[in-house]
Amino acid sequence: MRVWRKAWAFLVRDFRTQMSYRLALMMNVAGIFFSVAIFFFISKLLGNSINPYLTQYGGNYFAFVLVGLAVSGFMGTSMGVFASSINSAQTEGTLEVMLVTPTKLSEIVFFSSLWSFAFTAFNILVYLVIGALVFGLNLSHANIPVALIILALIVSIFSGIGIISASFIMILKRGDPVSWLFGSVAGIMSGTFFPIQVLPVWLQKFSYIFPLFYGLRGMRLALLKGASLSAVAPNILVLTAFVIAIIPLSLICFKYGVRRAKVDGSLATY
């Protein structure tokens, strides 16, 4: 019960802070509209030229890229939110004051991420609603339960990577190599904006080592083709293997990071 109440306190804190910047919130929604519009017109421009690559996802680039944006939005939040919550508490000067309370650092970091996940979900919903209502995105065949399973796996994997990244931030303060690798390289290799088939064949092979590739493929099949659980099972199995490997590793890294920061006294410095 206490845990839920604490989690709620973090959500309320971040919601109130966000709501105090009303113009930024309105601009955020407007930004989504323009971003969706840009991809809609790019899709019109491309027409059927890249459709052979998109056949397995229904042949529509607009729908393809919107799902890519949604998934990479969650990936970005999962990967960045833990490190940024530590970083902003360090710069705001609130971290030390939180750390002398009976609330554990792991709880502080986890609860601080909740608002970002909620806000990302809101953004994605706005993306899809604008896409559907204004630009004719068709998700009528979507298999939502399967999409949610895949989303949960994606969030778990990238949260694990995000926690490893936060462990680096605790020690190095800035410039963690983990989020750089998964943020920039995976964006190209995993097929967020284009199918990996357009990459040179030798480069395509590297896509298979990035979990985002399997997440995007499974999510597109579930949302755009209404694929069943058994149809996307190979993707789910690979994602589950990533979860099993990354989550324990991330917890070990986090424990080590806290230990190092408490020994060298640098937890609240930035």
């Binding site: 109440r5 306190a9 105090s20 609130t94 609330t103 408490k262 006294g265």
Partner: protein, 280 residues
């Protein structure tokens, strides 16, 4: 040198609010790989706190003074569980700060002189609500406690304004209010009157001495560069220099160690004391 570990059994008949046993903190430079990734301010090992032994009684207002870089902040951070000692032990109400961290945290409040430790886009009350929740206070109990500390620190009228509209003095009072939320037995005050005007500083000092210590019997551990504050408020104080406690006692006892010091303030004595140590 080997340090004897103090066990729970040793402590049954002798519990202080704060106690340290050979408490030591050494900052070491990072290894070769880490120093490639980030420049460190530490080039060689620094002994920030060196075998400190202190005993602070329950209900005592204890001061800690020392020159800049003497080890005050490091010592307070170790007592407040923010930093692990390199060796030695620290106890709060008999609880080891390393092994009983969670219980220690339930017994302490921490008031920083740092103005930036609030969410400036939230009101004072919303800030207190958030920090009270982290201290396991919820519902009506939390609201009553918040109103109580706001009233006591004369902040009720401004409680629903955003913190960014607060003056330095109001932020400092809010910081003390936050430190008192969980009704801690031991309160650490790190320069509580830094950068605030003399009128508010006097009110805060009275509140600390009359209400918190004499009225409620709390133990207060105060660090300050304002030595008249230490002189006016503290039952005893310690001088820390180069990580070592070089004096611990009352103002009169310090005067006694220095010969004829009629009409000298603590500040005069402190300056002379530190100068002599440097000459030695």
């Amino acid at each position: 040198m080997m340090t004897t570990k103090i066990t729970a059994r040793d402590r049954i008949n002798e519990t202080y609010a704060i106690e340290t046993v050979d408490l030591t903190k050494a900052y070491r430079p990072p290894g070769k790989i880490a120093s490639i990734a980030m420049r460190s301010p530490i080039k060689a090992e620094v002994l920030a706190v060196d075998k400190v032994n202190l005993k602070v009684r329950e209900g005592e207002l204890f001061g800690l003074i020392g020159p800049n870089g003497a080890g005050k902040t490091t010592l307070v951070k170790m007592l407040a569980t923010l930093l692990w000692p390199t060796s030695g032990q620290a106890f709060i109400k008999g609880l080891d700060t390393r092994t009983k961290e969670a219980k220690v945290k339930s017994n302490i409040g921490f008031v920083s002189g740092e103005e930036r430790s609030f969410y400036w886009r939230l009101t004072g009350r919303q800030n207190l609500r958030f920090f009270a929740s982290l201290g396991n206070l919820f519902g009506q109990t939390r609201e009553r406690r918040i109103q109580d500390v706001l009233d006591r620190l004369e902040l009720s009228d401004a409680a629903d304004n955003m913190v960014y509209s607060y003056s330095s003095g109001m932020k400092q009072k809010l910081s003390i209010a936050r430190g008192l939320l969980v009704d801690p037995a031991v309160l650490f005050l790190d320069e509580p009157t830094k950068s605030i005007d003399p009128v508010i500083a006097r009110r805060i000092k009275r509140f600390i001495r009359d209400d918190l210590v004499d009225g409620e019997g709390k133990t207060v551990f105060l660090t300050s560069h304002r030595l008249e504050e230490i002189e006016q408020l503290c039952d005893r104080f310690a001088i820390i220099d180069h990580g070592r406690i070089t004096f611990c006692g009352t103002v009169d006892e310090l005067a006694g160690t220095m010969g004829s010091v009629d009409d000298l303030t603590l500040e005069d004595m402190f300056v002379e004391y530190i100068s002599k140590k440097e000459v030695v």
